[in-house]
């Protein structure tokens, strides 16, 4: 129906992309996202930034004190940014939205654990958006 808004939840997450293993992980995350479409959990597409070369860089402080030096280290990460706009559950589709987002985060962590080194933290955020129809 043209006009009006469609409320969705936008999920944004950053995937580290600093080597071949992490690149392999990114490929599997994409595959995972593609599979979600058929599961009727409110995903009908997704967007990501260029895989290689990754255009985003992030910095974070490694707060775990290393053995020889107590000062936190500034860590640079090359990142691929993903945007997934989940439909909110409605009369037609029923699912646990935040449960799915949590599952997504767990799956990303699992993929990274399997193909690259497990990430300390995968940054996943979500917020409400209104899509103009």
């Amino acid at each position: 129906m043209p006009g009006g808004n469609e409320n969705r939840i936008r999920v944004v997450f950053n995937l580290p992309m600093n080597g071949d293993r992490q690149e392999n992980a990114v490929n599997h995350v994409i595959e995972y996202l593609k599979q979600q479409r058929s599961k009727k959990i409110g995903i009908d597409g997704f967007t990501h930034s260029e895989i290689y070369p990754p255009v985003f860089q992030g910095y974070w402080w490694d707060t775990e004190p290393p053995l020889s030096d107590d000062s936190p280290k500034l860590v640079e990460d090359n990142l691929v940014l993903f945007v997934v706009d989940y439909l909110k559950p409605n009369a037609q589709i029923h699912f646990n939205l935040f449960g799915e987002i949590q599952k997504l985060k767990s799956e990303i962590a699992a993929i990274y654990g399997r193909f690259a080194d497990a990430e300390q933290e995968v940054w996943v955020v979500s917020f409400g958006i209104a899509r103009q129809r």
């Binding site: 071949d20 690149e23 009908d44």
Partner: protein, 651 residues
């Protein structure tokens, strides 16, 4: 403010900042425009490669489709592979073909079609013998007459005279020997006199007469330099110029300004390009500099033309040279978009307004005020910020076009040496055959002269056969030293023999990367940026990676464009096993040749890479993958895209 407006504003500001930092001293330093930005190669316009057209239909197609700077580029360079020697038959072929197509195109394209043979004739003139030259002048004059009196069209006339100036300064050879002939000179005079006749109906000829006048000014200087060799021709040119000066009239101030521009300019290196190029290069000039003032004058001329178009569109000006309200409006849009794309801003208008004097009437100033007051809207409606804006920086930095690639031009001196050529040839004799369709134009552009195909290659190279010299030119250009030239010419050209990278012995006088020499190339550009599209590469391209043991040979290193999107053709490679896929990813990160290859992923062990990288990947021993063509959604017909979306369950 919308994103689009923000973007355009940003583009405009960038240009203005660029102008602030550019410094030029005099007309002698026009070539300083050519200091290329190291960072902006991805905006390289595709036009140079299209210069390589060699069939009449290709030439016509490129010429009539070109807009903005691309069309100016064609006027200056024309098509060196099409007119490489004394090929009068090609001009005739163009004339016949354009005649045939005349009824099939719209009015604007019709004016282009009409002038194509004239433009070709102008560029052919310096290469022709006297009999052929006579015929070429007829072709030119026929097109001129058709546009001037039979079926008046100022757009066609503008092209014709722009091209005459371009042909005179196309290269030193033309400068020294092109003979336009008294009839063509007379035709230029007639155009200017018509404009000066103080009848409003001929006002729209301002652009045309400025171009014709520029031709007369330029040609006069060329003839003066030839001394006694061209006394009669000079006499006819000076007679025409004097006739126009004597005519004066209300509108003479426009031509007078151009006249003054040429004062003190005498030799080839000092000649300014035709005026559109000056506008293109304006954003690279320093505000307040003499070059900026000259460019500003021509911007003013364009703005005045817009005002006249506006009057025509409003039916307030009747002229046989105005082609109806709709065309006038369309032309105004194009003109404004062009100026906006090349950085002319409301602030510029404020400055220009102070120098208008009596050139533009009060109503014209009011009209232009209103346009610049609504700059964003007008520019948006006119289509500014599109593809022309994308390439604007590239074009502006290549002004003047006839001095394209100055570094390569300098390097061509080395190519001129017999020793260097012999060395290259000797190496080539031992190598496999090299495709050479395009090789003619490379030295032609680089050396600034056309090669005479009917004789041996050129005086300095009588030792070489044509075929060998063609091969030599390609091979010499394929070295990293000439990467820029090669890239410019090969970029986005279908079937360009990009993979034919051969290693040649280092000729005397060459300095090459990887061989201990200094490397004058800009930024990280190397020839291989455009080198491997050719499928044959898998069989032949190994030379690229071969680090020869000979100290004289040059190992060439692949370098990729920075973004996948910059490649037109892409392939999705579908790997059958996780192991093979992981192995390939590892190679991407570790292999010198593949490092930096832009790519995308589609899941399921599918990776998207530039098509030209596929052969290289195969060369590395990866053969167990399936290739899938990648099609841009932008190139799909809407109904097909909709069908795909439906099939994929997308909304």
């Amino acid at each position: 403010m919308s994103n689009e407006q923000n973007r355009r504003d940003f583009i405009g500001r960038s240009f203005r900042l660029g102008g602030l930092f550019a410094a030029f001293g005099s007309w002698n330093t026009w070539s300083a425009f050519n200091h290329f930005s190291h960072e902006s190669k991805d905006n390289s316009a595709p036009v140079p490669s299209r210069l390589l057209a060699s069939e009449p239909n290709e030439v016509i197609d490129h010429f009539i489709r070109a807009r903005g700077a691309a069309s100016i580029y064609y006027c200056q360079m024309f098509f060196p592979t099409f007119l490489a020697g004394n090929e009068v038959q090609n001009v005739i072929a163009l004339a016949e073909l354009s005649e045939k197509q005349m009824g099939l195109v719209d009015q604007i394209n019709r004016s282009r079609l009409r002038v194509v043979p004239a433009v070709a004739a102008a560029h052919m003139l310096p290469l022709a013998n006297e009999t052929d030259a006579h015929m070429l002048r007829d072709v030119f004059l026929k097109a001129h007459k058709a546009s001037f009196s039979d079926d008046p069209c100022r757009m066609a006339l503008g092209y014709i005279w722009t091209c005459m100036t371009a042909a005179v300064i196309r290269n030193r050879s033309n400068w020294g020997k092109m003979m336009a002939g008294a009839d063509i000179v007379k035709a230029a005079e007639e155009v200017c006199l018509k404009f000066l006749c103080d009848d409003d109906s001929t006002l729209p000829l301002i652009h045309t007469s400025a171009s014709a006048w520029q031709f007369l000014m330029t040609y006069q200087k060329a003839l003066i330099q030839r001394g006694r060799l061209a006394v009669d021709e000079l006499r006819s040119v000076e007679a025409a110029i004097n006739q126009i000066r004597r005519k004066q009239g209300l509108h003479y101030s426009w031509l007078d300004k151009i006249d003054k521009l040429y004062e003190g300019l005498n030799n080839y290196d000092e000649m300014p390009p035709e005026y559109f190029e000056l506008i293109l290069g304006r954003c690279q000039t320093k505000p307040g500099s003499p070059e900026r003032k000259v460019a500003d004058f021509f911007v003013l001329l364009r703005l005045y033309t817009m005002y006249l178009n506006h009057l025509g569109a409003e039916d307030k000006l009747k002229s046989p040279y105005l082609s109806g309200a709709e065309v006038a409006r369309d032309m105004n849009k194009r003109s404004f978009a062009f100026l906006a794309d090349y950085g002319v801003s409301p602030n510029d208008w404020k400055t220009l307004r102070l120098s208008v004097g009596s050139l533009i009437p009060r109503d014209g100033i009011k009209y232009l005020d209103s346009i610049f007051q609504n700059y964003d809207t007008t520019a948006k409606e006119a289509g500014a910020g599109g593809i022309e804006a994308h390439y604007a920086e590239w074009y502006s930095k290549h002004v003047p076009f006839n001095k394209l690639l100055p570094e390569e031009l300098a390097a061509a001196d080395a190519y001129d040496s017999e020793g260097a050529v012999n060395s290259a040839l000797e190496s080539l004799r031992q190598s496999k055959d090299v495709e050479s369709r395009l090789a003619f134009c490379l030295p032609a552009i680089i050396q600034g002269c056309n090669w005479e195909m009917n004789s041996t290659v050129a005086d300095k190279r009588r030792c070489a056969s044509v075929e060998e010299a063609k091969q030599a030119s390609l091979s010499v250009l394929a070295t990293s030293r000439y990467a820029t030239a090669f890239k410019l010419l090969s970029e986005r050209t279908e079937n360009f023999p990009k993979a034919e990278v051969v290693q040649i012995s280092k000729p005397a006088g060459f300095s090459l990367a990887g061989a201990g020499g200094d490397m004058p190339l800009r930024g990280k550009e190397t020839m291989n940026e455009s080198s491997s599209e050719n499928e044959n590469r898998s069989q032949k391209g190994k030379a690229v990676e071969q680090a020869s043991t000979s100290p004289a040979s040059v190992p060439l290193k692949l370098q990729w464009k920075s973004r996948l999107g910059f490649y037109r053709q892409k392939k999705a490679l579908c790997f059958s096993t996780d192991e093979e896929f992981a192995k390939m990813l590892k190679l991407f990160w570790e292999d010198d040749t593949l490092y930096g290859l832009p790519r995308n992923h589609a899941g399921q062990r599918i990776i998207v890479v530039p098509a030209e990288a596929v052969a290289c990947i195969r060369d590395k021993g990866f053969t167990h993958f399936r290739e899938i063509d990648v099609v841009s959604s932008g190139s799909l017909p809407p109904e097909k895209e909709a069908r795909f979306r439906r099939e994929q369950g997308m909304k």
